[in-house]
């Protein structure tokens, strides 16, 4: 069985199934698939099997021709799904399998469920706002005695999140819609609510890494965790309502964005190095219970400082030589 579909602006407007070959396409009423477009000839093309038994679409002497993309062709082989143009009419031809029906489990139905009630929106928004609030409450600065207006601070940021989340969700919705994605605002809102929970998660992971690894490795650990979380966020946004068969593409896209970002970070770090910007790390984390985390001994620490001083001495030796030379 072969499905022939008439498209308008990429969307299917009519479909016909043919099971006998050859089948004709054209404006004439005797054709198997009639196209009421003035640019289409009365008998325009024929769908048939060639000498080797492959399915082909053949131009049968039409005025405006058969087009695959921008090029005019006399015939076109139909392997899987084919998009082409007869004159100005856009069609899609697809071989339809008559295999046994695929069973869809009821829980998968929810994935394809498009309409959600206002209650769902409210729930997603509430979850997102809660993520924001949790991040704020986890911050030691929030509990600092210098923090005088804790309640108003919290309410302020909650109201901010309440405004920010729907606005961001709408923008993401518009962006994805423009990319041809079948999303709804509820989808983007739910995605953002999940991303909001990444903030407290990130904070907890970084704090835990600091205690587990010691402050020396903390900068590296923080960077790695930040990267993992950011990558997760990007992939999540990229795969939002993507039909399953395009997942590879979404991952590649996320990887490309990440690579671009990594390049930017690397360039910044190198520029800072060249300008002599110190890698300041004064952060002191609050103790978890009575636990102050892993610590090295002073001799080992001083040995690391000594190694750095040798590096600096070697670097200035080069500067000195170049000055003497110049």
């Amino acid at each position: 069985m072969i499905a022939i579909r008439l498209l308008r602006d990429g969307a299917v407007v009519r479909e016909a199934i043919v099971d006998r070959l050859p089948a004709t396409l054209g404006r004439g009423p005797q054709c198997d698939f009639v196209l009421a477009d003035p640019s289409v000839s009365r008998l325009h093309a024929r769908l048939e099997r060639d000498a080797e038994g492959r399915l082909v679409l053949v131009d049968v002497g039409s005025v405006n021709g058969l087009h695959a993309g921008p090029t005019r062709v006399s015939q076109l082989s139909v392997d899987a799904t084919v998009h082409c143009r007869l004159g100005a009419a856009e069609i899609e031809i697809e071989k339809v399998s008559d295999d046994a029906t695929v069973e869809v489990r009821p829980e998968l139905w929810h994935r394809y469920e498009q309409r959600r009630s206002l209650g769902h929106h409210a729930l997603y928004l509430g979850l997102g706002v809660l993520g924001f609030a949790l991040r704020q409450v986890l911050d030691p600065g929030f509990w600092s005695p210098w923090q005088r207006s804790r309640a108003s601070e919290l309410v302020g940021s909650l109201v901010g999140a309440l405004v920010l989340l729907p606005v961001l969700a709408f923008l993401l919705f518009v962006a994805l819609k423009a990319a041809g994605r079948p999303v709804r605002v509820a989808d983007t809102l739910r995605a953002l609510a999940r991303l909001a929970w990444l903030m407290p998660l990130w904070f907890l992971l970084v704090t835990a890494a600091d205690y587990a690894l010691g402050a020396g490795a903390q900068a590296t650990a923080t960077a790695l965790i930040t990267w993992a979380v950011a990558l997760g966020a990007i992939v999540h946004a990229a795969t939002l309502r993507r039909p399953g068969r395009r997942r590879g593409f979404a991952l590649a896209w996320a990887a490309a964005v990440t690579a671009l970002w990594a390049g930017g970070q690397l360039a910044t770090a190198m520029g800072q190095r060249r300008m002599g910007v110190p890698q300041n790390d004064y952060a002191v984390r609050p103790p978890l219970g009575g636990f102050t985390g892993r610590a090295t001994d002073l001799d080992r620490y001083l040995e690391r400082v000594r190694a750095r001083s040798s590096e600096a001495a070697a670097a200035v030796e080069e500067v000195r030589r170049s000055q003497d030379g110049g």
């Binding site: 030691p140 002599g276 300041n280 002191v284 103790p287 690391r304 001083s309 200035v316 500067v319």
Partner: protein, 430 residues
Amino acid sequence: MLLRRLVFSALTALLPHSLGAQEARQATDRTYDRIKPSVLTIQVHSGDAEARGSLGSGYVVSEDGRVVTNYHVVGAFVDEPGRYSVRARTGGLEHPARLLTFDLVNDLAVLQVDGLKAPPLALARDVPPLGSAIVSFGNPQGLGLSLIEGIFNGFAEKGFVDRMLLSMPLNAGMSGGPILNQRAEVVGTNVSVMWLQNSLSFGVPVSKLLALLEAPPLELTRDALRQETHRQLLALEQDAVSRVIAPLASGGDGARTTVGPAELFRPPGLFDCWNNVQVFKDEGITKTSYGCNLQFTPSAESLGPVGSVELLVEHFGSTRAGRWGFYGALSEHPGSHHGVEPRDPRNGVLSAPECVADRVRAGSLTWKIHTCLNAFVKHPGLFNFDLVATSVSQPDAAVFVGLHLRGFGFASFASASRGLLTGIRLGESR
């Protein structure tokens, strides 16, 4: 021009009031006439327009034309002898001057000026009595030879090198001029003015000059002068290690000083120390600070920021905040957590900062230590070290330590930081 004349007449009008006795007035007049030809203006000129010149004063100390001035006046020449030349000016005549020796620690230099017809000034054999009147000569701002009267107050009690403490307003350009007693003998050399103070100045005692006058003349090549600068800086570091770093590292006489409930070994008496307590009542936080600093060398631009030690210990105690909130308070009120400045490694003075941060056990406490260091381009083996350590050991008390060494080797830093950190004990704060 008119303004300048007005200022001058205002100054001369003021002088008789400040002098008082008529006899002193006459004595000063005589001194002025006698000394004037022996005081010179020392200028450092550069061949090219880009390099900066400098201006100071100097005075004749021998029949064969040896002239004393400050190291920092001729520092640019010592640094780049090929680029600069030194000249001495007196009575409208200009003579070329040749550097003989210098002492950068005491900020002295000896020049040879040929063709001078000025009588040498006599050097005093003994220290003038405390409170005695002295006069100082020099060429302030290059405007003309000037005399300033003042009082000798003895020697500054703090600090690494001996400095005469003078009640007189020295000005820029008077550096290197003579300080004379009432018999018109040289008792010292002008060196500096106390920063941001109105009329407190410092002089180098003449005793420091005697040894320098005996020293053989230096070879005037860049390498030889650089080697001599390096030798003096290393000798200074050695001296600093034995007088400052070693006592700091070993706890000296074992005496301790307190910073709130924390205590540490008392730094050697050379240090200029201060302390301060701030109570934040509403927040339930008490901040106690204890800081010390010590400057070693004159601030000569050609040397770069060499030669000082600064330490700061701060204790934060909390009575009200919870454990979590107390650390939040620390990050908002970080005390000694001043950052290390970015440093372009291409500027030719210091390398870019290299930093090491880690959590470290030292003594009875656990610290988060952040150390940055820069190497001096012109002084091999010498570095600037900036250490900031924070103790995270108690839920209601924190200790910050800042240690800043300028122009030291790694060994000095290691023993100073080890002594300071292991010497700190934290008492019960609640």
